[in-house]
């Protein structure tokens, strides 16, 4: 019935997928959220900012569990109430998350983008990660940055982003069964889990084995 040659889902296709439960976007608050080829996403009430005063750096040579705790301590969660603003100043960076919980099927890839309305004020919703793997589920995390010149007041529930869907049937490694699924089922602005990457483990191991043992003096 639909033209499967087209790569991006149209509004009617998105609606069909939502009704049949193959895509989950909840809560769907307003019918206008569904555009011609995308669905608008709202800002959730939780944010995470970096506590710059606690640590000078994250020490890659420490063990994985210690780094996990360091990252947690380095990150401060902020939760705004309904109708309470979160102000992002020029040059500031914060993590936010979608209000909506999103779940993708096996044959779709999502693309997160900002909305022009907010982009014109200088708000970026992602810096590097716009790509959502098939079978991802959870809140999408915003890498919020104000690249404009004036502070921006953000409120939970504002439609600041949108997601579109591309067909990608045939992938063997979906997010649910892939080797890396650090953010599967994530709720709220979950911080980086770089310490779970295999490459990081390797570097961590090399740093530990090459460091001089305590008590030995260098040349």
């Amino acid at each position: 019935m639909f033209d499967t040659e087209r790569s991006i889902l149209t509004d009617a296709e998105i609606v069909a997928r939502l009704i049949r439960g193959s895509i989950v976007i909840t809560p769907l608050i307003d019918p206008e959220q569904i555009g011609a080829t995308s669905v608008d996403l709202r800002l959730g009430p939780e944010f995470a900012i970096l506590r710059r005063t606690y640590y000078g750096h994250l020490d890659f040579a420490r063990d994985q569990d210690t780094i996990r705790r360091d990252v947690q301590r380095y990150t401060q969660r902020i939760q705004v109430k309904a109708l309470e603003p979160f102000v992002i100043h020029p040059g500031e960076f914060a993590l936010g998350a979608t209000l909506e919980f999103i779940s993708l099927p096996n044959d779709l890839t999502g693309f997160l983008e900002g909305r022009s309305t907010w982009g014109r004020l200088g708000l970026q919703v992602h810096s590097t990660a716009s790509f959502v793997d098939p079978r991802f589920n959870g809140n999408l995390v915003f890498e919020l940055q104000n690249v404009g010149k004036v502070p921006i007041e953000l409120y939970a529930g504002l439609r600041i982003a949108q997601i579109s869907f591309n067909r990608s049937s045939g992938s063997i490694q979906t997010y649910a069964v892939g080797r890396t699924q650090h953010y599967k089922g994530q709720l709220g602005p979950v911080g980086s889990k770089f310490y779970l990457d295999r490459d990081f483990e390797r570097i961590n191991h090399l740093l530990k084995t090459r460091l001089p043992s305590p008590g030995k003096k260098g040349p």
Partner: protein, 488 residues
């Protein structure tokens, strides 16, 4: 006696399959894991550089509390492996061991005040506002309580005049202080992130409402024909106040309140006897159960109905042996004022009906049953979709039009479908009832399954993460529903 005469299942699927001693172990294990999760929270959020006290508590969890469950768990495993039912003394031993661990846990709890508590999540206030909104009289919501953390669940009033009088007189600023009492709701430290146990707040709000409308005195005066001068300090009034608060909680939150009450009291080693201030736990559970059966627990909500029934049966199993010593069939210990509790409950219900407190509906409980399925999939459960079958048939029609290339003709139908897809926000009571369904259908059976399969220590770490994830799922649901309501 309540021995486990069933063979041990490989994988249990619902609480109804569990015996009382297994429920006790699961509840105690869950309570220790919750303490552990709280310490995690203190460490990561409130006190990143905490040292000796935090480590001390961690050691108590690892070296005392979890190991104290090994012996009762061993007995359960033994009976499962040998397929021999527990004899009455083995059963009693398990009950005692679980009970003493719970007492140990409660003593640890008293010293948590030495750690800096994290800020209570704001979702507590979302629930609080919903409970207050069940009262048509806005006076109930005007005095928004604050939430404090302590050892127990409680309701308190801080009277600034009374608390500061000596100082204020000295400073001659007495008149500048407002005379109103500030209402405080007190939560135990380890329940601060557990939305399921926040339901006890509804009982505490019930106390506020009782005071606001002098409901207890009204009921006493109906019983006696007058209010005696010494009624303020009487056990009779205290008991009536407790029953009023229980009935308010059941009206507003439904089965969730009864579940939380059972969850709180069943692991305790006490005999559940009445005190000078409270009727016995058994009477309170029975009254709440009757109330639910008369109102919302119909055949339209079969899962909830059977879970409530099973939980009450387990509670009866634990406490019924003591029934003849409870002595609270009548109101209070006084022979003069003695009145059957059932009659007192009827009088209270009349008063509550007059206040027009909103009751939880069967539809809400049906919604909770649906939401519990989504919770099991890892979804937050902030909103629910209306019936999709109508949308499905309209969608089939739309697809047929599009297949014919009739885009113009399909536009109105498309907008109609789009409008029908909007979800409605769930209420806190729906979310929390769904949370309890999930707990009794999945979490508690899962604990017993895993406890019999792995070492306590291994499972404890894994379970603590699951516990935090589920708490967070419920908190996010409560958070989201509040934002959702802004756009209605």
């Amino acid at each position: 006696m309540q021995d486990s005469d069933r063979g041990k299942r490989v994988s249990v699927s619902a609480t109804s399959d569990l015996a009382l001693c297994e429920i006790l172990i699961a509840e105690v294990f869950d309570a220790i894991a919750r303490l552990d999760a709280y310490l995690d929270d203190v460490e990561s959020s409130a006190q990143p550089r905490s040292g000796i006290p935090l480590n001390l508590f961690r050691n108590i969890v690892r070296k005392v509390l979890y190991p104290s469950l090994e012996q009762p768990l061993g007995l359960i495993k033994q009976t499962a492996t040998s397929k021999t039912p527990l004899n009455p003394s083995e059963f009693q031993a398990i009950v005692n061991l679980a009970g003493s661990t719970f007492i140990g846990l409660a003593s640890v709890h008293r010293f948590l005040k030495y750690l800096r508590p994290p800020e209570p999540p704001s979702e507590i206030f979302t629930l609080l506002r919903e409970i207050q909104a069940a009262f048509p009289d806005p006076a109930i919501g005007e005095n928004e309580p604050d939430v404090l953390l302590s050892e127990i669940f409680n309701y308190g009033e801080i009277d600034l005049h009374a608390a500061l009088e000596w100082k204020l007189r000295e400073e001659k600023i007495f008149s500048a202080v407002p005379g109103e009492e500030t209402i405080v709701i007190i939560l135990p430290y380890t329940q601060v992130n557990n939305p399921l146990m926040w339901t006890i707040i509804s009982h505490e709000v019930g106390h506020f409402a009782e005071k606001q409308y002098s409901l207890g005195r009204k009921v006493i005066s109906k019983i006696l024909g007058c209010v005696p001068a010494d009624v303020a300090d009487s056990t009779e009034l205290d008991w009536v106040e407790e029953l009023i608060s229980d009935l308010v909680a059941v009206r507003v939150l439904g089965p969730a309140y009864l579940f939380s009450f059972i969850s709180l009291t069943i692991p305790q080693s006490s005999l559940g006897v009445p005190s000078l201030t409270h009727p016995s736990d058994l009477s309170r559970v029975r009254i709440a159960f009757q109330e639910l059966n008369h109102t919302c627990l119909t055949d339209a909500v079969p899962t909830l109905k059977s879970l409530v029934q099973n939980s009450v049966e387990l509670f009866e199993e634990k406490f019924k042996f003591n029934e003849k010593y409870l002595g609270d069939k009548n109101l209070g210990p006084s022979k003069i004022h003695g009145k059957p509790l059932a009659d007192v409950v009827a009088l209270i219900n009349q008063e509550l009906d007059d206040l027009k407190i909103a009751r939880i509906t069967v539809d809400s409980l049906r919604c909770a049953e649906t939401l519990a399925k989504n919770l099991a999939k890892g979804h937050p459960i902030a909103a629910s979709q209306s019936e999709t079958s109508v949308l499905q048939s309209k969608l089939a029609h739309l697809e047929a039009l599009l297949a014919d290339g009739n885009i113009e003709g399909s536009r109105d139908l498309f907008f109609e479908i789009q409008n029908g897809m909007v979800e409605k926000p769930c209420s806190c009571s729906e979310i929390i009832n769904a949370g309890y369904l999930h707990r009794y259908e999945k979490t508690i059976p899962h604990i017993i399954d895993r406890l019999s399969a792995s070492t306590l220590d291994d499972f404890a770490n894994e379970y603590r993460d699951e516990l935090k994830q589920l708490d967070h799922q419920l908190e996010v649901s409560l958070q989201t529903t509040e934002i959702h309501k802004l756009f209605l």
